[in-house]
């Protein structure tokens, strides 16, 4: 372990020390602003460290970790979400007089888990990061005792993710049993492909990742947990967890020599197609916005799987760029819409916001509504937004690999998706006189918008548009 290696994992170290310090801080003084500020500070430090490292040549830190530029970009994305979530958790928690410093602690743990995941190059580190992430998340999902569905969501998430982890671990055990190595690169060997045990191991390992990415047929937990979890936690689930796990998936996949293997490719295509279709179809008539976003995330992860289907090592660079661009677009759009969700509380403080509650938002909260529209258009992949460029990346990749079936499914899926995205957008534009149809509890009232919230929302909306029109801003960053 030399200094270069230590520096390379500086963000993770900062996060780890941050957690310890936070514990001490809590012991010293309990204050919601203090802990929030400290968490924010830690994340900013980690972000600065990450940006400072970028770009980086591949640095192997022990056998467990491998730091490369792509993981740093993923880490940047994760930290950006972490920062936003920290800020907006503050707004979310503002209604409680109680000091919820554990919440921030858990948040830091999740981020640490994610940070470890993105640089891991070994099944053991994957396992550690993975469980750090999910255990902390379970805690967060069930954090609020009094919430309507917190308990149910937490239980579902705990038991299902534990089951899935067990499968994944079994898979790792199989791989280890056949190859004798737990490192990604070492554990891959074309000779083993004929070995059923090895193949089964890969499948089971992928299962664990697919579960977290909520890909069909492992998606069942997603809508329920999305809906039941507190909104900042859903935000976390939708962004940090997805980005970290997908990064590790790509990393694992591209380190293999077997990504061209036919039966595995078939499985991936199958999962991708199913996810695109099922996610979009099930989102169609959802009224709960968080639930709807849960379903739509299923579809988005399905689109992303196209990245994995490459046939030669030449495409790896482009595939990484495409994946990181799409992930960034997805992440920004998700963050944006969840931010709006957080600031648009309802009277009874429930965070179960339905589409009707946003009725006519455009006319009395135009900027908030614009943010929602931008985010939804980005999800739908309409030009002017970053989502379009993301989709463009995917399509370029798919066209080059001639994945016509997947392209056809993607087009169909996008068509279906437009229906529910547009439905929300039209509700935002609904005229006031139609309000008699709205339920009695009325639309969002009491929208409290601190300046920071407004500025953040504006920045994110602006970023989506600017990168949508001038994608080079970000694409250069990727290809540096």
């Amino acid at each position: 372990m030399n200094s270069a290696q230590l520096i390379a994992i500086a963000p993770q170290l900062i996060l780890s020390f941050g957690i310890v310090l936070s514990l001490l801080l809590i012991a010293w003084q309990r204050s919601k602003w203090l802990i929030q500020g400290f968490t924010f500070f830690i994340f900013v430090l980690a972000l600065i460290a990450t940006l400072d490292l970028y770009p980086i040549d591949n640095i192997q830190v022990t056998v467990l970790l491998l730091v490369d530029s792509y993981s740093l970009v993923a880490l940047v994305l994760i930290l950006i979400s972490a920062l936003t979530i920290t800020v907006f958790s503050g707004f979310y928690l503002a209604k409680y007089t109680e000091v919820h410093d554990e919440f921030y602690l858990l948040l830091q743990l999740v981020i640490l888990g994610a940070a470890i995941l993105v640089i891991s190059d070994h099944f053991a580190s994957v396992f550690l990061g993975f469980e750090l992430l999910s255990m902390a998340l379970v805690g967060m999902v069930g954090y609020f005792r009094e919430s309507d569905h917190g308990l149910e969501s937490a239980f579902k998430y705990l038991i299902l993710s534990a089951t899935a982890s067990s499968f994944m671990l079994l898979g790792i055990a199989f791989i280890y049993g056949t190859t004798g190595s737990l490192s990604f690169a070492m554990a891959s060997n074309a000779n083993h492909l004929i070995d059923h045990l090895y193949l089964a191991g890969i499948i089971l390992f992928l299962l664990g990742l697919c579960f977290k990415l909520s890909l069909v047929p492992f998606h069942y937990w997603t809508p329920d947990v999305y809906q039941g979890a507190p909104t900042p936690v859903t935000m976390l689930l939708a962004t940090v967890s997805k980005v970290a796990i997908f990064t590790v998936l790509i990393k694992y996949w591209f380190s293999q020599v077997n990504y061209g293997d036919e039966s595995l490719t078939e499985i991936i295509s199958l999962i991708a197609i199913l996810s695109m279709l099922v996610g979009n179809v099930m989102a169609l008539r959802q009224n709960n916005i968080k639930r709807l976003l849960g379903y739509s995330s299923i579809a988005h992860m399905g689109y992303l799987l196209i990245i994995l289907l490459i046939t030669s090592t030449q495409n790896i660079t482009f595939a990484w760029q495409a994946a990181l661009f799409y992930l960034a677009a997805y992440l920004l759009a998700s963050l944006l819409i969840f931010m709006v969700l957080i600031v648009s509380h309802r009277k009874n403080n429930s965070d179960q916001i339905e589409i009707v509650h946003w009725r006519g938002m455009f006319w009395h909260q135009p900027w908030l509504a614009m943010a929602v529209i931008i985010s939804l258009l980005s999800f739908a992949g309409i030009p002017l937004t970053m989502g379009f460029i993301g989709k463009f990346y995917l399509l370029v990749q798919a066209t080059q690999q001639q994945l016509w079936l997947l392209i056809a499914t993607l087009i169909t899926g996008s068509g279906i998706a437009l229906y529910y995205y547009l439905r929300i957008i039209f509700v935002l534009f609904a005229q006031h006189q139609e309000q008699s149809i709205a339920p009695q509890h009325g639309d969002i009232d009491n929208i409290f918008q601190p300046v920071i919230a407004r500025v953040t929302i504006a920045i994110f909306s602006g970023a989506i548009i600017v990168i949508g029109i001038f994608p080079d801003v970000y694409a250069y960053f990727l290809s540096a």
Partner: protein, 515 residues
């Protein structure tokens, strides 16, 4: 630069109209009206009177945009684009005028959308980088959808979603074709390119170019629209506010035809030649089916919408006949239909504003109380069924006359559309303006007279002096002939132009087969 200036000016004007509008004064209306009028005049002055020829589709501005994919921001103008841009700006003026009193809520935002849609459409007509083209192609949808969804009639959300999904799916198919072309360029020349003139250098094997052509064709056929992809149109037209319908029918459909000319036929001459029988069949079916469906409608705007399908069938037929005369006819039909359908939809809007229904069953005998309106309605209906002396006739006549030598049977069937159009034209006119008096309505106001009279003036002017437009198209044609002959498809053009007299129908067909 003029195009960039116009696009930016439109967006700016829209934004200003939006922000500075207050519901009491007419700022948004007047501001959009004045800015559109001055832009129209400016554009006409700059393109037609300042000495500069636009015979080739060469870029006026061209700079790198997205370097990752070697995408450029390149805009170009040629005579075809100029004609269509002028049409667009003119109809935009009409749109502002027809929505003067119709739009009562969120006026500023409405005009923003209108102007943004116009900006997008102008971008479509001038983009020369295919990614940019696609970009504008999608951009124009957003404000258009907003116009339908916010200010439309009772089923506006359904119609807007349908419109959006139809076009979106088809344009994604086109996007795949665009990407594939860029990728092929990369394989042949070493880097991605979305630049139109680069693509003309590509050598494509026939099956590949056929599929790529199909990708473009589907997107444009949906926009045109051609049977069986037409069904978004009646809903969208019916539910849109008047200006929305005017814009949709007048200009948006033309983007489909424009795409067919510019991208399907000129980029894939060989493949489209192979595909011509199918396209022509679709065109003829659209003509007849549209006419038949129009007759069956009870809703004024729906009827006009189906008649649009019928008219655009002529365009499709003429374009795929690969004939200089037919080509002129197709472009003229585009312009003429832009004007006449805009006129019909304005008329529908004006009737709607008086009796608050679009149902033909509840109309009748308007002529008695509104003779001026009746006169205009008759003239517009006459334009729709192709009365000689009005613009549509010249377009349709040239289209059919040009197509006849190559596709006599198809033209004969398409000519049946003339009967069909007379039937629905009469049905429409008689149901609304003749018959027993069901409503007494106010005659045209000055503003409405201005709208109708300016449209009618143009229809008559182009009908009697079509050469003003046709001359522009002819120059364009020469280039396309050259281009096409490089691809060795169009001996037919050449043969026809050199020696018309010796050419007899069966001989031509035979010759084509031999090639």
């Amino acid at each position: 630069m003029i195009i960039i200036f116009i696009i930016i000016a439109l967006l700016l004007a829209g934004a200003i109209a939006w922000f500075f509008d207050n519901e009491k004064n007419n700022f948004a209306r007047w501001f959009s009206l004045i800015s559109l009028a001055s832009l129209l005049l400016f554009f006409i002055y700059d393109t037609l009177f300042v000495a500069q020829t636009f015979t080739t589709f060469t870029p006026l501005v061209r700079f790198a945009w997205i370097k990752t994919f070697n995408i450029e921001f390149a805009l170009a103008l040629d005579n075809l684009s100029i004609i269509l841009v002028i049409l667009t700006l003119f109809l935009a003026l009409i749109c502002v005028l027809v929505s003067w009193h119709e739009i009562k809520t969120k006026i500023g935002f409405y005009y923003f959308n209108l102007l943004a849609a116009i900006a997008g459409i102008i971008g479509v007509f001038t983009a020369i980088d295919m990614f940019l083209f696609f970009f504008f192609w999608e951009i124009m949808l957003l404000p258009m959808t907003a116009i339908i969804a916010i200010w439309g009639h009772e089923q506006r959300h359904f119609a807007a979603i349908k419109f959006f999904i139809f076009t979106q799916i088809s344009s994604l198919i086109m996007l795949i074709a665009i990407i594939a072309m860029a990728y092929l360029y990369q394989q042949q020349f070493g880097q991605l390119s979305f630049y139109y003139h680069d693509w003309q250098k590509l050598t494509l094997d026939s099956s590949m170019s056929f599929y790529l052509m199909l990708g473009f064709f589907i997107a444009f056929a949906v926009k045109l629209p051609s049977v069986p992809f037409h069904s978004w149109l009646p809903d969208a037209h019916t539910q849109a506010p008047t200006a929305g319908s005017v814009l949709l029918a007048g200009v948006l459909l033309k983007t489909g035809a424009y795409g067919l000319i510019r991208f399907v036929i000129l980029l894939f001459p060989q493949a489209s030649q192979e595909f011509a029988p199918v396209a022509i069949t679709l065109g003829v079916v659209s003509v007849l089916y549209g006419a038949k469906m129009a007759f069956a409608q009870q809703d004024f705007k729906r009827l006009v919408a189906y008649s649009s399908i019928s008219h655009m069938g002529f365009v499709m037929l003429a374009l795929f006949a690969f004939n200089a005369v037919a080509y002129q006819g197709a472009v003229l039909t585009m312009v003429a239909h832009g004007l006449s359908s805009a006129a019909m939809f304005s008329m529908a809007g004006m009737i709607y504003s008086r009796i608050h229904t679009r149902s033909l069953a509840q109309m009748g005998g308007f002529w008695q109380s509104a003779p001026r309106m009746g006169g205009f309605a008759l003239a517009f209906a006459a334009a729709a069924f192709g009365l000689p002396g009005l613009a549509n006739f010249v377009g349709e006549f040239l289209s059919l006359a040009g197509s006849f030598s190559a596709h006599p049977i198809a033209v004969m069937f398409a000519a049946l559309g003339l009967i069909g159009s007379a039937i629905y034209g009469m049905y429409l006119f008689q149901n609304s303006f003749q018959g027993p008096i069901k409503h007494t309505i106010a005659d045209f106001s000055k503003r409405e007279t201005l709208v109708a009279a300016s449209l009618l003036f143009l229809l008559v002017f182009i009908g009697l002096f079509p050469n003003t437009v046709l001359q522009k198209i002819r120059i364009e044609q020469k280039i396309s002939v050259q281009k096409a002959s490089e691809q060795k498809i169009s001996q037919q053009f050449v043969v026809q132009n050199i020696n018309k007299l010796v050419m007899a129908t069966p001989a031509t067909i035979g010759r084509k087969d031999n090639e």
